[in-house]
């Protein structure tokens, strides 16, 4: 009866679900959703980005329910997202209005407005900090108080308003980067209209920004390592910051931002990568053109945003026979819910299909026609 045993009954399923709950609770501790939201910021960011739903509270809840498994948490949040009606599309958000918290450029030693390091683990040594084992709320309060005093002391009485020009604008003004026509065509919403190939750039960017972080990084890495453009992209600017999201006043489109309804802010990571490429110039002359790849995702998610900028470039400039330049290859395989779903479906019973294969194999081996 071994093979039939895969058929569970309703009772067995109920017990399995109970068991899952027990595994989460067996150590007799529960983790507060608030604690996840504040203490697991990177995971919350990642899940919001992969689920393409900016909702910290819900992401933290999903992480709790998924016991910290990002694939499962993304799945929960996406499924919840499916039940939400799409009532509005936001107005155009200008990235120039970003409240910048971190902004670095690898292209220039110094840039107008300066390099702003912000919060990053890039400059730490990855040594396990055993002090964190003993971190108490008293410690935390004391450290925070000291931090705030320090900040107050250094803060100038009047905050100068610093203009942060975009690095790509500097390159454009020198004629190194092509000036592009502003394109405000409404993007095709891939959650409402299935993407078809060849895909529009808006569809590609949406799919990339929702991509599973590991998958996006792996393919972006493959591209620069040699299975693709084989050029070294330079990060013109990586920015982490908050941008305001507004919608048109529901009774009619409005002309100025002042009349728009402000919904709130989202924190994003934005990357402009520049990649030199050969091109045929006027009259077929060989020239070097500096081209752009763009990455943008919810939260602070720097590797993903950089890899996305590489893949955006790759898909804008296809090379035959290179999988990372093939939009169907990249876009159909990086989605967390799709990839993990199809892999996990292999756990479902397949005895009918398997028996069908078995029948074909036996028929062939018996030499029937």
């Amino acid at each position: 009866m071994a093979y039939v045993a895969v058929k569970g009954g309703e009772a067995a399923i109920a017990e399995s679900i109970k068991r899952l709950r027990y595994e989460r609770l067996r150590e007799r501790r529960t983790i507060a959703v608030k604690a996840i939201r504040s203490g697991l910021r990177a995971l919350v960011d990642r899940v919001m980005s992969e689920a393409s739903l900016y909702a910290k509270e819900l992401a933290a809840l999903a992480i709790k329910q998924a016991e910290g498994n990002p694939e499962e948490a993304t799945f929960l949040l996406r499924a919840y997202r499916s039940t939400l009606p799409r009532k509005y599309y936001s107005r155009l958000t200008s990235m120039g209005s970003m409240f910048v918290e971190r902004r670095i450029s690898a292209a220039f030693k110094d840039i107008a407005g300066g390099q702003l390091l912000g919060a990053s683990a890039d400059y730490t040594h990855r040594l396990l900090d055993f002090n964190l084992e003993k971190e108490t709320s008293a410690n935390v309060r004391a450290w925070l108080a000291a931090f705030q005093r320090e900040q107050e002391a250094e803060k100038p009485s009047v905050m100068p308003r610093v203009e942060l020009p975009r690095v790509t604008d500097i390159l454009r003004s020198e004629g190194l980067l092509r000036r592009m026509q502003q394109d405000d065509t409404a993007p095709r919403d891939i959650t409402r209209q299935s993407m078809t190939f060849p895909a529009e750039r808006s569809e590609r960017l949406q799919t990339l920004t929702r991509g599973e972080s590991g998958a996006v990084v792996a393919l972006g890495y493959a591209a620069i390592r040699g299975y693709g453009l084989a050029a070294h992209p330079t990060v013109a600017a990586l920015m982490v910051g908050r941008v305001a999201i507004t919608i048109d006043y529901p009774l009619g489109a409005c002309d100025s931002d002042d009349e728009a309804l402000y919904l709130g802010q989202v924190r994003v990571t934005e990357v402009d990568a520049i990649i030199p490429a050969a091109k045929k110039g006027q009259g077929g002359k060989q020239e070097i053109e500096i081209r752009l790849g763009y990455g943008l995702c919810f939260g602070q998610n720097e590797s993903k945003a950089i890899a996305m900028s590489v893949l955006d470039y790759c898909l804008e400039h296809p090379i035959p026979d290179s999988p990372v330049h093939d939009e169907e290859f990249v876009l159909t395989h990086i989605d967390s819910v799709e990839a993990s779903g199809f892999i996990s479906h292999l756990k479902l019973p397949h005895y009918v299909t398997f028996q069908s294969e078995l029948d074909a194999a036996r028929r062939i081996n018996r030499g029937e026609r």
Partner: protein, 288 residues
């Protein structure tokens, strides 16, 4: 659960899936792209079928959900429970009582009627995928009705093995126009799609495609004129529970040396036969 709308989706989403369904019915066998939603069950676990179900189910419907022929399979239970939670509709294991049947990889043994709808879950809707990986190029081949690749792969199987080697999901020609994946139903079920009285809807969630067979559509399994299409051989095999012959049977392996035994794959059908076994014993035994 009252946090969710009837049948889970917002009404806008349902309408959109219904539009795709209408188009699919209008062009039998043609794959209509739709904006497949993420569902509370995993991609690859029947989300396409489930979305079709949720888009068409009404309060008076009676549903049956089977997975590889079984009503009790874990995934069938899970999907049925979910639909039930989100709609409150009645459920049944008896095919004849159901108004909508959602199935993975089987067509129920009891012949479907014009009052019923069968929804099949589809993992890979593109029958040309094996010979043409690119969706764009495959779409072009469909448009031009250029199916040499599929035929050639069947021909090569015959050259290599002496006969076609397809297991489940043997490609079909629909209404003499589109080559269609029947979903991984056994070859035994292919002929039961042909001229079927019920509307058959196919949903592929991960691949974001919907297609359909309106009632009484001509569905032919691809086969060369001198190599007729062959179903799985059920010859001489009898269900040990209900004694059925000529139906699709599951083969089960016993301890070494004992040889395999067989049971109806369609568990609902088998149970029904068992409960009326005495009547059947008196009358003539018939397969289907």
């Amino acid at each position: 659960m009252n946090k969710y709308n009837f049948a889970f989706f917002d009404e806008q989403s349902k309408r959109e899936i219904r539009r795709a369904l209408l188009k699919a019915v209008a062009i039998p066998g043609y794959q209509v792209p739709f904006a497949s939603r993420e569902m509370p069950i995993a991609r690859g676990w029947g989300t396409g079928g489930l979305q079709v179900m949720l888009a068409i189910v009404g309060k008076k419907d009676v549903i049956k959900v089977i997975d590889q022929g079984s009503d009790d399979s874990v995934n069938a239970v899970s999907i049925r429970k979910f639909i039930q939670q989100m709609t409150g509709v009645l459920e049944t294991a008896e095919t004849s009582e159901a108004s909508i049947v959602q199935s993975r990889h089987r067509v129920p043994e009891v012949p479907l009627t014009g009052e019923q709808i069968l929804i099949l879950q589809v993992p890979i809707p593109e029958p040309l995928r094996e010979t043409e990986q690119s969706e764009l190029r495959a779409k072009r081949l469909h448009a031009e009705k250029e199916y040499s690749g599929v035929w050639l792969s069947l021909f090569e199987q015959i050259m290599k093995y002496g006969c076609t080697a397809t297991g489940a999901d043997h490609p079909t020609m629909v209404h003499e126009r589109y080559v269609m994946s029947p979903s991984p139903i056994p070859r035994y079920d292919n002929r039961r799609l042909n001229d079927c009285a019920a509307l058959i809807l196919f949903g592929a969630g991960r691949e974001k495609k919907i297609y359909a067979l309106p009632p009484y559509t001509k569905v032919e399994s691809l086969a060369f004129v001198d190599r007729p299409f062959v179903s799985e051989s059920m010859h001489g095999k009898i269900c040990r529970l209900c004694g059925a012959e000529g139906v699709f049977l599951d083969e089960s392996v016993q301890a070494a040396g004992a040889g395999p035994f067989y049971e109806c794959n369609d568990t609902g059908y088998c149970r029904q036969r068992q409960s009326s076994k005495s009547r059947l014993d008196r009358g003539e035994q018939s397969g289907d």
